[in-house]
Subunit: 224 residues, 2 copies
């Protein structure tokens, strides 16, 4: 018997990282430089300078308040789980995601759940005021609801799970304070994700003592 299960589909939930790509505008966007230029030097080699919370990335509790709980301390098993995709793409600009948006999914909220919110802001990613400031965001009450259900992780297709307004810090604090990692900067628009069971793997770069890290985040369907 084949002991490695067969993959039916893989979907990338990650955004591209590139020179000056849109990010949280309070800090410098990433900069890419050549160290070696291929046709000139034989080898092609680049250098990047970036905030660790750039493009698709994960936040550890150390990002806010729990400064000693860094991302490299999480057991690998915490970085995979069952996708619970919450479709909130009908929200208006700047509208909070509230408990009643999540209750239809409540029987899926368990210790293996990676709850990702599809707002549609992944497709809007650009240096625009709309993309930066008008995303739907997870309200404090909805964050606490997820904590109460002891989910494994929470994510969103925007650079901030809590948006850019008044609720942001407390939404982060509720999730991170409960030891839940957060994925931000996702791309969740593949309609295949709406059908069947999906397994999420969120693989952050293993950076020592860090508050977060860039990550490749993917969803898989298995045939077994």
């Amino acid at each position: 018997m084949d002991r490695i299960p067969s993959i039916k589909k893989m979907v990338d939930l990650s955004q591209e990282l590139y020179h000056l790509c849109p990010v949280l505008p309070a800090f410098e966007p990433p900069k890419l430089d050549y160290i070696c230029i291929g046709p000139r030097d034989g080898w092609k080699l680049e250098q990047i300078t970036m905030n660790l919370h750039t493009a698709t990335h994960m936040d550890a509790p150390a990002h806010l308040g729990e400064f000693d709980k860094t991302l490299d301390q999480f057991p690998l098993d915490q970085f995979q789980g069952r996708l619970v995709l919450v479709n909130v793409s009908t929200k208006s600009a700047g509208e909070p995601i509230v408990v009643s948006d999540i209750t239809p999914y409540c029987n899926q909220l368990a210790a293996d759940a990676i709850v990702l919110f599809y707002t549609g802001w992944g497709e809007k990613r650009a240096w625009t005021k709309e993309w930066i400031y008008e995303s739907p965001y997870l309200s404090n009450e909805a964050a606490q609801y997820l904590v109460n259900h002891q989910v494994k992780a929470v994510g969103i297709d925007h650079f901030s799970i809590g948006g850019t307004g008044h609720d942001n810090e407390e939404t982060h604090r509720i999730l991170l304070g409960a030891g839940i990692w957060i994925a931000e900067g996702l791309q969740l628009n593949d309609t295949e994700l709406l059908q069947g069971e999906w397994h999420v793997f969120a693989m952050p770069v293993k950076i020592r003592d860090s508050s977060g890290a860039p990550a490749r985040i993917v969803a898989l369907q298995w045939t077994c």
Copy 2:
């Protein structure tokens, strides 16, 4: 029926990335800075400046010669496969890995094989002449042997699959020229890897047009 298979074990094949960690010494080692210091600023946030081929990373064909075949172009499915762990930890310093080291594994070399060479240099990782210059390395002939067997990927627990001597460039050219990605900077010393079937996931940061990228690389055993 549960459509997500159960994980029996997960092993991290990745090295830590940290300020001034040992890397290919021809270029600057990574630098980490604080943007926000947690206890002072409320949030903890770091910036990194690094060569994209730092710590555990993957090389695309664009790294040498095939400048238009960048890592972001690989289908996700190419980033997972069946582990073939070739134990060459009895090699002396600077000794080449040759075809006869691989022939005992030849019935495992197929299109789903991710062939990783365990030299023991992962445990030696430090700013020493030994670690930098004396690793066992994949010879040109052994690289060509792997290409002939059409394996999916090749990796090693040192920063350079071809070492730092005369064979290095050609070993890279043989593998990358055949469209095979390379994993470098691995940690392969977990003895559990020697028993049973292992599934490798190598997840690089999705950097546009890049010659390579830092990656989290893990091995899994399934119960199904």
